[in-house]
C-alpha cells in the first residue's frame, strides 16, 4: 500500500478511500498535497484491486478548502503554471479514470476543493457541510474545471449566481439543484457513502468505466455520434467476463459474482 505525506490511502474490499489529510488548515492544497493527490490518483487508476474510489477530507470541518493561500503569500507565482502543472492533471485523471469516484463531502468544499468534488462521478454530502465557489471573494475566477462542471449540473443561471456571488450553498440546496446525489447527517455520511461504494466495488467495473467514458463523450457530441459510439462500446461490454457471468447468473437464477473485468 503506497503512503503519502498529506493523504491517507486505504484500500478495503475494492474500495479505495483517499483522505485529504491537512485538517488544521481545512485540508487546503499545498504543493505536497497537490503532488500526493496526483500520485495517489495514478496509483488508483493502475491498481486492478481498486474498483471504486472515495475521496474525502480528514476531520469533520472540511472536505477541502482549495489552494493554501498562506503557502505562497508574499511571493509572485504563476497561477497559470499551477493549474497546468497540478490541478488540471488531477481533474483530467479523475474524469478519464475508468472507475467510479465518489466525493464524500464531509465538510466545507471551497475553491479548487469544490472543483475536485465536482470532478467526481457522484457526491454524497453532509448536512453540516457547505459548497462555495469562493474564488470571486478574492478577485479570482473558478478553476480546475468548475466552469465546465457547474452549468452542466445546475444550468447557466445558477452556475453564474454561485460563481459571481461566491455565496455558501447548503446541503439541502445542493441536493435540490442536483450538485450532489445524496445528503446525510454528519454521523451517517460515512455509512451511506461506504454502502454505495461497496456496491459499486462489486459491480462490473469495466462496464462502469465504459459508461463513464461514453457519458463524458455524450456531453460534447450529437446523438448520431453517440449512437455510433455505443455500437462499439456495447460490443466491447458484451465481450467482458462480467457480462458472461451476469447472463449466466440470470439464467441460473442466482446472484452474479462480478470480477470487474
Amino acid at each position: 500500500m503506497p503512503t503519502f505525506q498529506t493523504l491517507l490511502y486505504t484500500l478495503t474490499d475494492g474500495v479505495l478511500t483517499i483522505t485529504m489529510n491537512r485538517p488544521d488548515v481545512f485540508n487546503a492544497f499545498n504543493e505536497q498535497m497537490k503532488k500526493d493527490m496526483n500520485d495517489a490518483l495514478k496509483e488508483a487508476e493502475k491498481d486492478p484491486g481498486v474498483r471504486c474510489v472515495v475521496i474525502r477530507g480528514a476531520g469533520d470541518k472540511a472536505f477541502c478548502s482549495g489552494q493554501d493561500l498562506k503557502e505562497h503569500a508574499g511571493s509572485k507565482r504563476s497561477l497559470k503554471e499551477s493549474l497546468e502543472k497540478s490541478y488540471n492533471p488531477m481533474v483530467r485523471r479523475m474524469r478519464s479514470m475508468e472507475k467510479p469516484i465518489i466525493g464524500m463531502i464531509n465538510g466545507v468544499a471551497a475553491g479548487a476543493g469544490l472543483s475536485v468534488a465536482l470532478a467526481c462521478d457522484l457526491r454524497a454530502m453532509s448536512t453540516s457541510a457547505k459548497l462555495i465557489e469562493v474564488f470571486i471573494r478574492i478577485g479570482l475566477v473558478p478553476d480546475s474545471g468548475s466552469h465546465w462542471f457547474l452549468p452542466r449540473l445546475v444550468g447557466m443561471a445558477r452556475a453564474f449566481e454561485y460563481a459571481a456571488t461566491g455565496r455558501d450553498i447548503t446541503a439541502e440546496e445542493a441536493e435540490k439543484v442536483g450538485l450532489v446525489n445524496k445528503i446525510a447527517p454528519p454521523d451517517q455520511l460515512e455509512k451511506v457513502t461506504l454502502e454505495l461504494a461497496g456496491s459499486l466495488a462489486k459491480a462490473p467495473t469495466r462496464s462502469i468505466g465504459l459508461i463513464k467514458r461514453t457519458l463524458n463523450k455524450a456531453l460534447t457530441s450529437d446523438l448520431d455520434t453517440i449512437l455510433d459510439y455505443e455500437t462499439y462500446i456495447q460490443q466491447v461490454a458484451s465481450e467482458s467476463e462480467d457480462h458472461k457471468e451476469g447472463l449466466a447468473a440470470f439464467l441460473e437464477k442466482r446472484k452474479p459474482q462480478f470480477r470487474g473485468r
Binding site: R213, Y232, Q235, V236
Partner: protein, 255 residues
C-alpha cells in the same frame, strides 16, 4: 525471430510489428522485413487489402535511435535507410494503418505512408525528432504538410508536440477514431470491405489518388482519365455496369 507477423483472412492480410519490448521502434531489420512482406503480399491473389499495425500500446514509437546515433553523415548517406520506404509507396494494394498508442517520428511517418488510418482513442501522433537534434526524414515534413497544412505541420515539427487521436481526426491526418478496444477490429472491417471491391479498379483508383499530389491538375486529370478508360478492359467493369443496369449485385471476377 521474425520482426513482422503476418496473417491472412477474408481477402486481406494483417501485418504486425513484433518488437513490443521497444514499442516497435523501427530498426533497419524490421523495415527490411516489412518491405519484403508488403511486396510479397502485393503479388498474392488472395490478398486485396493490407492492414498494418503494432499493438495496443504502440503502433511504432519511432526509428531505432541506438542504431543510428553514432553514424556519420556519409554513413547515413550510404546506408540511405529511408530509401527503402520508397518501395512502400510502390505497393499497388491499399494499406490501412491501424494505430493505437504511440505513432511517433518514424511511426507517424509510416502511418502517413499508408493510404488510410484507423485509430484508437488512445492513439498519439507526433514528429518529436526536433527533440533529439534532428528533423523528420521519412516524409514527416512532406506528407504531414500535405495532410494538415503549413501551420499545423510547423507546429508539430518545430515543437515536437504530440497530438491526440481526436485532433488528428479534426486536422485531416486520419480517417476514424474508435474506442481503444476496437481499433483493430475496425481496421479489419474496413479492409474486408475494400477486399470485396473489384481489385483492378481499386489499384488504379489508389494510383490516381496518389498522383494528385505529384502533378499538375491537367496532368492529374489526364492520368485519371487514362486509368478510367483502361478499366474498360477489365471483366469487372463489364460485370459491374451490367449488374447495375440489371438491378442486381455484381459478382466480381477479380480481373
Amino acid at each position: 525471430m521474425s520482426l513482422i507477423l503476418t496473417t491472412k483472412q477474408d481477402g486481406y492480410a494483417i501485418v504486425q510489428f513484433n518488437r513490443p519490448e521497444v514499442l516497435n521502434a523501427l530498426n533497419v531489420k524490421l523495415m527490411e522485413e516489412l518491405v519484403e512482406t508488403l511486396e510479397m503480399l502485393d503479388k498474392e491473389d488472395d490478398v486485396r487489402c493490407i492492414v498494418l499495425t503494432g499493438n495496443e500500446k504502440a503502433f511504432a514509437a519511432g526509428a531505432d535511435i541506438k542504431e543510428m546515433a553514432d553514424a556519420s553523415a556519409i554513413e547515413m548517406l550510404t546506408r540511405d535507410q529511408f530509401a527503402r520506404w520508397d518501395r512502400i509507396r510502390k505497393i499497388k494494394k491499399p494499406i490501412i494503418a491501424a494505430v493505437s498508442g504511440f505513432a511517433l517520428g518514424g511511426g507517424c511517418e509510416l502511418a502517413m505512408t499508408c493510404d488510410m488510418v484507423v485509430a484508437s482513442e488512445t492513439a498519439k501522433f507526433g514528429q518529436p525528432e526536433i527533440n533529439i537534434g534532428v528533423m523528420p526524414g521519412a516524409g514527416g515534413t512532406q506528407r504531414l504538410t500535405r495532410a494538415v497544412g503549413k501551420a499545423k505541420a510547423m507546429e508539430m515539427v518545430l515543437t515536437g508536440r504530440t497530438i491526440s487521436a481526436d485532433e488528428a481526426l479534426r486536422w485531416g491526418l486520419i480517417n476514424k477514431v474508435v474506442p481503444a478496444e476496437y481499433f483493430l477490429e475496425e481496421a479489419k472491417a474496413w479492409a474486408k470491405e475494400i477486399a470485396s471491391k473489384p481489385p483492378v479498379a481499386v489499384k488504379l483508383a489508389k494510383e490516381s489518388v496518389l498522383k494528385a499530389f505529384d502533378t499538375t491538375m491537367e496532368g492529374g486529370l489526364e492520368f485519371e482519365r487514362k486509368n478510367f478508360y483502361i478499366l474498360f478492359a477489365s471483366e469487372d467493369q463489364k460485370e459491374g455496369m451490367k449488374a447495375f443496369s440489371e438491378k442486381r449485385k455484381p459478382e466480381w471476377k477479380g480481373r
